[in-house]
Symmetry: C2
DNA sequence: TACGGATGTGTGAACGTGCACACAGTAGGA
DNA sequence: TCCTACTGTGTGCACGTTCACACATCCGTA
């Protein structure tokens, strides 16, 4: 491994400008400097193309001005979940305003987990935003042990109540949109439930159940593994098979709803005439579909910026009230129901 | 801003184990250490929960074992382009194997540009992979001035031939799939051309023109701004208006093709019966559509890993042959044409 | 004259690490 | 006996930065 070329340091600048290191530092960071000295130093900086070494600054300051954005198991996310990108952009915007650099790290394999843990521990970042953590992810323990300022997006991690989180009320949102679907006169309402190994999946199903109350029929729930389009197709076929008279469907995601719409079209059912369909996420899927989806708006960008704020506040030394924060999820009523 | 708590250093470990710093260093980095010393040190490390400070290591070694993944103007990318995620994952996998941490930086605003430039200059990363650079992006100059090992994905940046790149042959691929469409007996073939402010957009149009040769008719080209679904809808409407007898369409992306399919369905045209449609990218759109798209396969994952390799080879001190690398783009023939 | 404050500059130490070097002991061969 | 090789350990320095401190000068005022 070849070492990179040596670069100019404050020392070189000081020598070139005929002053001391301290004065150069003062030009860069503020302090009393005479006009001549400042001019000479600025000229020298331009001449040799000096850029400060952040690794040295971080070492001394114990601050990197960087915050990690850790995306766990992003493989499926990048392909199916349009939210992760918006969350990232929201977080980046908030951090950018506070002059912090967001660096995102993807964790796919065991190997990644260990390397990212080292990276987080190593002082390269001042804090971390963690998205889509499984309850017992080893990364959580690393952050907890280091007491690294952090925030979770999604569900609170069980084993550490001291890490704040921001999320949405999946139960309440699912209940609300199911109720609205029911109130429009639908009698046989089913659900395509997905990702029941995650909190979000379980919660959406719970919301559906509570909305229907005694009218809930387990036979009308199709259980599919993922939040994606293909699962929607499969799930809808299952429901049509089990209950041909079905007239309402709550899909656990917009992608699933899109798949369901396609299946319904193939089966010759009109939407929203024969069957009313509602989704979840208000992602780009919602407006691409024909008809456009009635769905729960998930404020992805706000989730990202909120998480960023939670980290920034900790960096400022504020002590946060324990517990999490739920963002509102308005229902967007379009044409599919 | 509160300083983070002090953490254990090699010094503390040495004191706890009753040895010198050097011996601790040798336990961590390899060297001659007696069994007793090693045991004592390892016990001490576990006890105090020591983690090495990477900022200090980076300062000393002039190596961070991290490579930046710079996504320029990712806003539209995350929403419309399914490739960026795959490129990232491909790059991450390759870097992960070489035990390098990929850190991705998004650049959306002027503010971001400056901060990312500082970050890249600051020694936090050993190299950079740059995606979707405009020709004259200031980031390119920063990388060039620093002679930071880098690789571009997409088109070569004009002003610096010494930075390698990996991309696909947009002209050739577009020509190939247009020819194939023409050879299936279509007579009136149009194109929905997009993003003509980018090289990829221009090149795909050029390929289309050369494939048709003298049969090329400018009236059959609809020019839309973006690679997205909505543009496909608009573009197809335009083409149908101008030339109702159109029987073949080359869409500049799969998302556009999907939009075109929807418009054709609304217009009562069958696909591939009345009109043959081909796309570009082989993204998730391609298999979601009804009928599934015939398209050009873009090897996104390989683009990412190739770019990573180019950076890693420079880090190993290899001198690369100048110029770029084109990855093959096989045609995937499905049902839409 | 003496003092205090404001302005401007230089020096030494420290952040935590890795490596070169010095040094010590042991063993084997010429 | 001396030389070399190998194993094992401690010390000093350097990486590039910031900060505390010391020092120097000038000015207005008691």
């Amino acid at each position: 491994m070849s070492r990179p070329p040596k670069r100019a340091t404050v020392h070189d600048i000081a020598a070139a400008a005929g002053v001391s290191r301290g004065t150069v530092s003062r030009v860069l960071n503020g302090g009393y400097v005479s006009a001549e000295a400042r001019a000479a130093i600025e000229a020298a900086i331009l001449e040799v193309g000096y850029v400060p070494n952040n690794a040295a600054r971080t070492l001394k300051m114990r601050r990197s001005q960087a915050v990690a954005f850790v995306a766990l198991e992003p493989h499926s996310l990048f392909l199916d979940d349009p939210n992760i990108g918006s969350i990232m952009l929201g977080a980046n915007a908030a951090l950018s305003l506070a002059d912090h650099q967001m660096v995102s790290l993807v964790v796919e394999s065991q190997r990644d987990t260990e390397r990212v843990a080292r990276y987080l521990s190593g002082g390269f970042v001042d804090g971390a935003i963690v998205v889509s953590a499984r309850t017992r992810d080893p990364i959580i323990k690393v952050i907890s042990d280091l007491s690294l300022p952090a925030a979770f997006v999604g569900h609170p991690p069980e084993l550490s109540d001291n890490i704040p989180f921001v999320g949405i009320d999946n139960v309440g949102s699912a209940r609300a949109i199911t109720s609205r679907l029911a109130s429009s006169g639908r009698r046989r309402i089913g659900m395509i439930a997905a990702a029941l190994d995650r909190d979000s999946g379980i919660d959406r199903l719970t919301g559906f159940k509570t909305a229907l109350g005694t009218g809930y029929d387990p036979a009308l729930v199709a259980d599919v593994p993922h939040y994606d389009y293909g699962s929607g197709v499969k799930g809808m076929r299952l429901l049509l098979e089990r209950e041909p008279s079905i007239d309402g469907v709550f899909a656990a995601s917009d992608a699933i709803a899109a798949g369901a719409l396609e299946t319904l079209r193939e089966a010759g059912r009109s939407v929203p005439g024969d069957v009313g369909v509602v989704g979840f996420d208000d992602s780009t899927w919602a407006v691409r579909c024909q008809p456009q989806l009635s769905t729960v708006h998930q404020p992805a960008k706000e989730l990202g910026s909120c998480a960023a704020q939670l980290v920034l506040r900790q960096l400022r030394g504020e002590t946060l009230e324990p517990g999490g924060q739920m963002l509102p999820t308005p229902i967007v009523w379009r044409d599919s129901a």
